[in-house]
């Protein structure tokens, strides 16, 4: 056992499941009329686009990502003589050519290693009143989850700015999934916003189709509190906001899936906010009624299907989807979790808290989750798990396709990268998403 543990300590990664910090260009592109500017090599943002957006449900770049993204494409000349002039030209021309409300300069490895003073160039534009922000997102600083928080903090710090006004009761800043990286983020934001509004809140969703763009970002300091719905990403942001704007935060580590968890989630948020719960309870009642209407129908298939259903499952993916889907299938559907692997290189300080969540995932079920990033080792673990006598169910990424084929199992992709599904507004969370997840898992079964 110690032998295996030692082996895991290597640095190599095959079949990566995340990009690097500059992958946060996609975070900026997810803000309506936000324009990312790459101060990096010619291939950096392109590569991140493939991992985080295109080969991840074929989401597409939207307004300002992908091929539209301005980039300094640093070459030999800049490496030797510095890239400040090139960056200055790029920002100047971006402001004229790109039609946006917020421009964020993200510096990659080469930009940082040659030591250009990006801050002084950007500040020149900031001083003139241009909405330009800069962030240090060299790939060696960490993965795109880390990059996401670096960029969010930079925007708050340099664009949202100081605030001394009054807070607005019932207004929430939502710190939730990472745009594009969480494959279903577009649908998930819609569902979670629907739920929070149904319960009587106003929500700054900040990213995606439901966001009002920079106007919403500017109103971050007005919110009554910050709501972090994620195991660890977003906590740094919430801590920062607590200090900067004296805003409290509520941390709900497991994204709610299914009626019971979603209802519990609403009640927690309502209690934390101290708002009147009448609207929320009415909303819960209506949602619950609809949810069980469908669950009742589903239960006939679930109890009468003659030709075998999966019983044991492994789940492989970043922490947020992994724990929420594992919890739903274990606690609400009665499937048996046999191997859970978190692949997002969760910072050490958050790991014990997450382990505890798995240990208490459902009455009578306690799990030991693994943290592994190297696809080779992950796939070995998936292969060697004990699936009993029924067909193995593997909730993972498209990298697991080969091992699932070997197992003659069912692959339901739940995380980056996904190259076997086209994802638009799908969601697996909340009231509605739970039903879609059941559809997806059992469509794979009957196919």
């Amino acid at each position: 056992m110690t032998e295996v543990k030692k082996k895991k300590k290597g640095n190599s990664i095959v079949h990566p499941r995340y990009g690097c910090a500059i992958g946060a260009v996609n975070t900026v592109a997810a803000i309506p009329r936000g324009i990312p500017i790459g101060n990096c090599g010619p291939g950096c943002a392109d590569k991140q686009y493939f991992m985080i957006s295109f080969e991840n449900g074929f989401q597409g770049a939207g307004y300002s990502g992908g091929g539209a993204l301005p980039s300094s494409n640093l070459g030999e000349n800049e490496i030797v003589f510095g890239g400040q002039n090139k960056l200055d030209d790029l920002i100047k021309s971006s402001l004229k050519i790109m039609d946006g409300d917020l421009f964020v300069v993200l510096t990659g490895c080469s930009g940082e290693l040659i030591g250009d003073d990006v801050g002084s160039i950007v500040r020149k534009y900031q001083d003139k009143g241009y909405p330009v922000v800069y962030a240090d997102t060299a790939g060696f600083k960490g993965n795109n989850l880390i990059g996401h928080e670096i960029v969010v903090k930079a925007i708050i710090d340099q664009f949202v700015g100081e605030f001394h006004g009054k807070k607005k009761k019932g207004l929430i800043n939502l710190w939730f999934e990472i745009p594009y990286f969480h494959t279903n983020w577009r649908g998930d934001y819609i569902e979670l916003k629907r739920i929070l509004e149904g319960a009587g809140f106003e929500v700054n969703v900040l990213f995606g189709s439901e966001s009002k763009g920079v106007e919403e970002w500017k109103s971050i300091p007005k919110a009554q509190f910050n709501l972090v719905v994620s195991p660890w990403v977003g906590l740094e942001t919430a801590e920062y906001l607590k200090e900067k704007y004296s805003q409290p935060f509520l941390h709900i580590p497991v994204i709610p899936i299914g009626e019971e968890q979603t209802t519990e989630f609403i009640r927690k948020v309502v209690a934390f906010a101290g708002i009147d719960n009448k609207k929320a309870e009415k909303f819960i009642e209506a949602e619950a009624e609809r949810y069980y209407y469908f669950l009742e129908h589903f239960s006939e298939f679930f109890s009468e299907y003659w030709f075998g259903l999966p019983a044991r499952f492994t789940s492989v993916g970043e922490a947020a989807y992994n724990i929420s889907i594992t919890k739903f299938l274990t606690d609400q559907v009665g499937l048996i979790p046999v191997k859970q692997i978190i692949t997002d290189n969760t910072p050490e300080k958050y790991r014990e808290g997450i382990r505890e969540l798995y240990r208490n995932i459902s009455d009578g079920v306690s799990l030991e989750v693994d943290f592994i990033e190297d696809g080779y080792l992950i796939e070995q673990e998936v292969k060697n798990a004990d699936y009993g006598s029924s067909v193995p169910l593997v909730l993972a990424s498209s990298w697991e396709a080969d091992v699932v084929q070997e197992l003659k199992g069912l692959l339901v992709p739940i995380g980056t990268p996904i190259t076997s599904e086209v994802v638009l507004n799908r969601s697996y969370i909340g009231y509605n998403g739970a039903l879609t997840l059941l559809e997806r898992v059992y469509t794979a079964t009957v196919k």
């Binding site: 190599s12 990009g19 291939g43 686009y49 301005p70 050519i97 039609d99 946006g100 080469s110 060696f140």
Partner: protein, 528 residues
């Protein structure tokens, strides 16, 4: 002995701008570019004559330097999608994890490529050394050694490649010494590739770097000739070449994607080397010719009747099949002509636009002109004024202009989406044919459907003309979808930019950027 065109003594490769005078930004007519390229003079220089090549002022091709650029691709990516696509060899990317973020895309291409070639379909296995901040400070050589040992223990590959990235190049990682040291330790070929992204302004240098490594360290140094074997330098395309060349009694050896180590090694044993695209294949073909006397097919590319005829005749000449070739060509013409005439009728009045890699675009335009489609504008992502062979028969742009006529607006632009709007508006095509990402989404939003030429062999040969014609009829139907988008979706560019008539205005009049933009910003602020 003739002067060698390729220097295999060094482990690194001069980039294309140094070797060939390649450019990435230019606008004019195709015939003007033929003239400015001065192919023949540059070619002579390769064999010892000429005007001193790219270093002499007389040979330098003018380039339009733009102050604004959008995200593109790098040589490091190209190396990943070349030597990372070998089923029994392993590539190790010595870099932070972000440099490997494109692997899911490569995996998809690799799996489809394996399927097309009838090989076992399985995941790609490229390693990342996964470097972090402390490695930038203290060096990362031990992590590289560890990854090489991991690769060896896990897969026992026939060869291991190491690719350099921007960060590891800047901190001065000595991958060549480590390659030699590990080669000794493990007894397996280890090949260092110097393909850091900043090394070249165009990604195609990555092809040369990959091919350089293969020819230098994998190709069999004591070849036993295989008289019926022809190398085709290719990517992931469907195997149409076997069918085309079987009547000449030839077997095809595809290089280098999806090839096994042994298939790469036997490249030096082939009777000839050809390619579907000189941008891709010229370096390898020339290196194999220089080093092992494997003749390269001295012809343009196999597209349209004219190109395919010339290409087949040259292969027949090299292979000693001249007695049967004219009969074969005549039969093929007679077979496909009725179908092509039918397609010409259906495609009457249609206008197309090509936006692909350099020499490939020359072939692609030939094919759609063969179908009677009008082409008065196109983009190549870079332009090589000469190929490594330096032989005049490979002057593909000249071949295009001479056989299929002028293209009024022939633009060199490295997947720059902001320029693409003006370039399309200038000629208003009914469809575009495209490779690489980044441009098609813009065309889609202004009502123009895109034919993503994902199978690059699709237009090859006589049947290729038919295949393209039939596919275009399906693509044109999609215009309905694009018109919906056009009616409802906004582009991310300012009205000021979209109203510019010249997509290269910033290079010609950079001072227009100094116009006050305060007004624009103030307006936006008021809107908020």
């Amino acid at each position: 002995m003739a002067k060698k065109k390729i220097n295999l003594n060094l482990s690194s490769v001069d980039n294309r701008e140094m070797r060939l005078g390649s450019i990435i930004s230019w606008d004019g007519s195709a015939s003007e570019l033929v003239e400015a390229s001065n192919y023949d003079i540059r070619g002579q220089k390769k064999t010892g004559g000429g005007c001193g090549g790219g270093k002499g002022a007389g040979c330098k091709l003018c380039e339009l330097n733009m102050p604004f650029n959008q995200q593109t691709m790098c040589s490091h990516s190209i190396v990943g999608c070349q030597v990372g696509n070998l089923p029994d060899c392993i590539l190790i990317e010595h870099s932070p994890i972000g440099c490997s973020a494109i692997h899911p895309r490569f995996n998809l291409g690799f799996r489809i490529g394996l399927m097309r070639r009838g090989k076992k379909v399985e995941n790609i296995q490229i390693f990342s050394t996964n470097l972090l901040e402390r490695d930038m400070v203290f060096g990362a050589s031990d992590k590289l050694r560890r990854s090489i040992r991991d690769a060896w223990e896990r897969f026992h590959p026939k060869a291991i490649f190491i690719s350099m990235s921007c960060s590891t190049a800047i901190i001065g990682e000595d991958i060549e010494s480590i390659a030699m040291e590990m080669e000794e330790e493990l007894g397996v070929t280890v090949i260092p590739l110097f393909c850091e992204g900043f090394r070249s302004k165009h990604w195609s240098t990555g092809f040369d770097i990959s091919q350089h490594g293969v020819v230098r360290q994998i190709v069999n140094k004591n070849p036993k000739k295989q008289e019926d074997l022809i190398n085709i330098v290719a990517l992931w395309g469907t195997d149409y070449f076997t069918e085309m060349l079987r009547p000449l009694g030839l077997r095809v050896n595809y290089l280098i994607d999806m090839a096994s180590y042994d298939e790469l090694a036997q490249a030096s044993e082939a009777a000839a080397t050809a390619t579907f695209c000189h941008t891709l294949g010229s370096y390898m073909a020339t290196a194999l010719e220089d080093e092992y006397g494997v003749p390269q097919i001295d012809a343009p590319q196999p597209y349209g009747f004219a190109g395919t005829d010339d290409w087949l005749r040259e292969i027949a000449k090299v292979m000693g099949k001249e007695d049967i070739i004219e009969d074969y060509i005549a039969r093929e013409h007679a077979r496909v002509l009725p179908k092509i005439e039918e397609l010409r009728e259906k495609l009457k009045g249609i206008k197309g636009f090509v936006a692909t890699g350099s020499a490939y675009a020359h072939g692609m335009i030939s094919v759609i002109r063969e179908l009677g489609i009008e082409v008065d504008g196109s983009i190549v992502f870079h332009h090589d004024p000469v190929y490594d062979s330096g032989t005049s028969n490979q002057n593909t742009l000249k071949h295009l202009v001479e056989n299929y006529g002028e293209i009024d607006h022939f633009t060199v632009s490295k997947t720059q989406q902001f320029q693409f709007y003006g370039l399309l508006k200038r000629v208003n095509p009914d469809f575009i044919i495209i490779r690489h990402n980044g441009l098609a989404p813009l065309a889609a939003k202004i009502g123009i459907p895109a034919f993503a030429m994902g199978d690059e062999h699709f237009p090859v040969g006589y049947d290729g003309i038919v295949r393209v014609g039939e596919a275009l009829i399906e693509i044109l139907a999609r215009k309905k979808f694009n018109q919906v988008l056009q009616r409802h979706v906004k582009l991310p560019y300012t009205d000021w930019w979209l109203s510019q008539e010249d997509p290269f205005i910033l290079a010609k009049q950079p001072e227009i950027l100094d116009d006050p933009i305060e007004a624009v910003i103030a307006e936006k602020k008021n809107a908020v």
